[in-house]
Subunit: 234 residues, 2 copies
C-alpha cells in the first residue's frame, strides 16, 4: 500500500533497528545501542547492521556522529530536498515541468495554510517579520537578491502555527526551488522589488486578519516566476 512495498533484506534490518528505537523508548537526540549490541540483539552480521544504519542515516532517522556514536535523528526533510532537487535539474528537457510542479506546490501550501496563518497572526505585530521585509526591500533597491531573508520570512510566517511539519515542507520546497532555478535557463523577470514588497503585503494582510488580501499577496509574490514558467512551458 505504501511506496515501500518492494522490501529487501536490508530494509528488514533497518525496520528492526527502528523497532529497537521504539521498544527502547528512544527519542530524537538519544544514543542508539552500539553496532555490536545491535548485531547481538538482532542476530545479524555487522555489515548488515552497518548498511541498515547508513540507510537510516540517509533518511535522517539516525544521525551518525563519527567518533561519538549513532543517535536517533530529527527525521528532517533533507532526503526529500535532495531527491527533488535532482529531479528538478534532471528534467529541463521536459519543458521545466519539474520546477513548475515545485512552484505549484509552494503556491498550494501557501494558499492551503492561508486561513490558519491569518487566524494565528490577526491582531498581532511581528517586528521580526517586518524587519525581514524592510531588509528585503532595501536589498532589492540596491539590486541585490535576498535568499536568506526570503526563507526566514516564509518559515517565520508559519511559526505561530505550532505545526513543525508544514514549516519544514515549506522550507523544503523553498530549498528545492532555490537550488533548481539557477541551474536552468529560466529568464525570471528580475522584479526584485515587487517580490520583496509582496512579502510585506502578505504580512500586513495576515496581521489585519484579511484572508482575501493574503490570497492576493500570494499571487503577486509568485507572479514573476509564474510568468517566466508560463512563457517557457507553453
Amino acid at each position: 500500500m505504501t511506496g515501500t512495498s518492494t522490501m529487501s533484506q536490508k530494509t528488514t534490518t533497518s525496520d528492526r533497528i527502528k523497532d529497537v528505537i521504539l521498544s527502547d523508548g528512544l527519542r530524537p537526540g538519544d544514543l542508539l545501542p552500539t553496532e555490536g549490541e545491535l548485531c547481538d540483539r538482532l542476530g545479524v552480521s555487522r555489515s548488515n547492521v552497518r548498511e541498515a544504519i547508513r540507510k537510516l542515516s540517509t533518511l535522517d532517522i539516525v544521525d551518525v556522529r563519527h567518533g561519538h556514536g549513532t543517535y536517533v535523528g530529527e527525521m528532517s526533510l533533507d532526503a526529500l530536498v535532495e531527491a527533488l532537487v535532482f529531479r528538478g535539474v534532471l528534467s529541463p528537457g521536459d519543458d521545466l515541468r519539474a520546477l513548475r510542479d515545485v512552484v505549484e506546490v509552494r503556491v498550494a501550501l501557501d494558499f492551503g495554510m492561508a486561513e490558519a496563518i491569518v487566524t494565528s497572526l490577526a491582531g498581532t505585530t511581528n517586528p521580526e517579520l517586518s524587519g525581514l521585509v524592510d531588509e528585503m526591500v532595501a536589498m532589492a533597491q540596491d539590486g541585490k537578491s535576498f535568499p536568506q531573508q526570503d526563507r526566514a520570512f516564509h518559515t517565520g510566517l508559519l511559526e505561530a502555527l505550532d505545526n513543525s511539519l508544514v514549516g519544514q515542507l515549506v522550507a523544503a520546497f523553498w530549498d528545492v526551488h532555490t537550488a533548481v532555478l539557477p541551474r536552468l535557463n529560466v529568464a525570471v523577470a528580475a522584479d526584485l522589488e515587487q517580490t520583496a514588497r509582496a512579502h510585506g503585503q502578505m504580512l500586513e494582510a495576515a496581521q489585519a486578519g484579511d484572508v482575501e488580501a493574503f490570497h492576493a499577496a500570494i499571487t503577486v509574490h509568485y507572479d514573476p516566476i509564474a510568468r517566466a514558467l508560463d512563457r517557457d512551458v507553453n
Copy 2:
C-alpha cells in the same frame, strides 16, 4: 542554505554520480555505467561507489536491480513516506502531534489545490471517480473500510492537473496517515459512511465548478479524524 549542508565524503561521491547522470544525459529508466566504470571515471574505490549507490538508491535517484544493473530511478517520495511514518509512530508521547501535523498538511494540500482541481473538472463527468465513490459507500454500508478506493480517489482527483509532484505528495501523506493511524490509540469516530459520501460531495462540487462546495466537502471529509485528534490533543 539547503538541508544538505553537512556533507561528508560519501555525499561527494554520490553528488559526482549524479553529475555523471546529468552529463551523460540519462533519464529515469536508463542504465547507469557499471560500478567498475564509475570507479574509473571518478577515481574512487569500489566500496566508495557502492556506498554512494546505496545512498542514491534509498533516495530513489537510482534503482538497483540485482543481476541486471543500476538504473536511473523515478525519484519517488518513498523516502519521505518512510521517514514521516517513523516520525509519526515515534512521537505518540507528544499528544499525537505528528499525526495531527500530517492531517493538517493533507487538508492544506486539498484546500490549496481546490481551485485548480475544480477548474480542471468543471463540466466533466468522471465515471471512474464516481465508481470509486459508489464502491466506498457500498463498502461503508457493509461496515467495511475502503483504503484502496480512498487512495485511488484522492490521487485520481489530481490526475487532470498534469502536476505529478502534487499527486505524489498527496499520495505520500495519505500513506503516512494510513500507516501511522493504526499504530496509535486514536478513537476515530467510525463514521465510514460520512467519509465515503464526502468523497462524492468533493467530486460533485468539482464537476459543478463550485469551489465553495468543494471546500465544504473537504471539511466534512476530515471531520471525523479532526474531532478525534482535537479530543486527544487538547
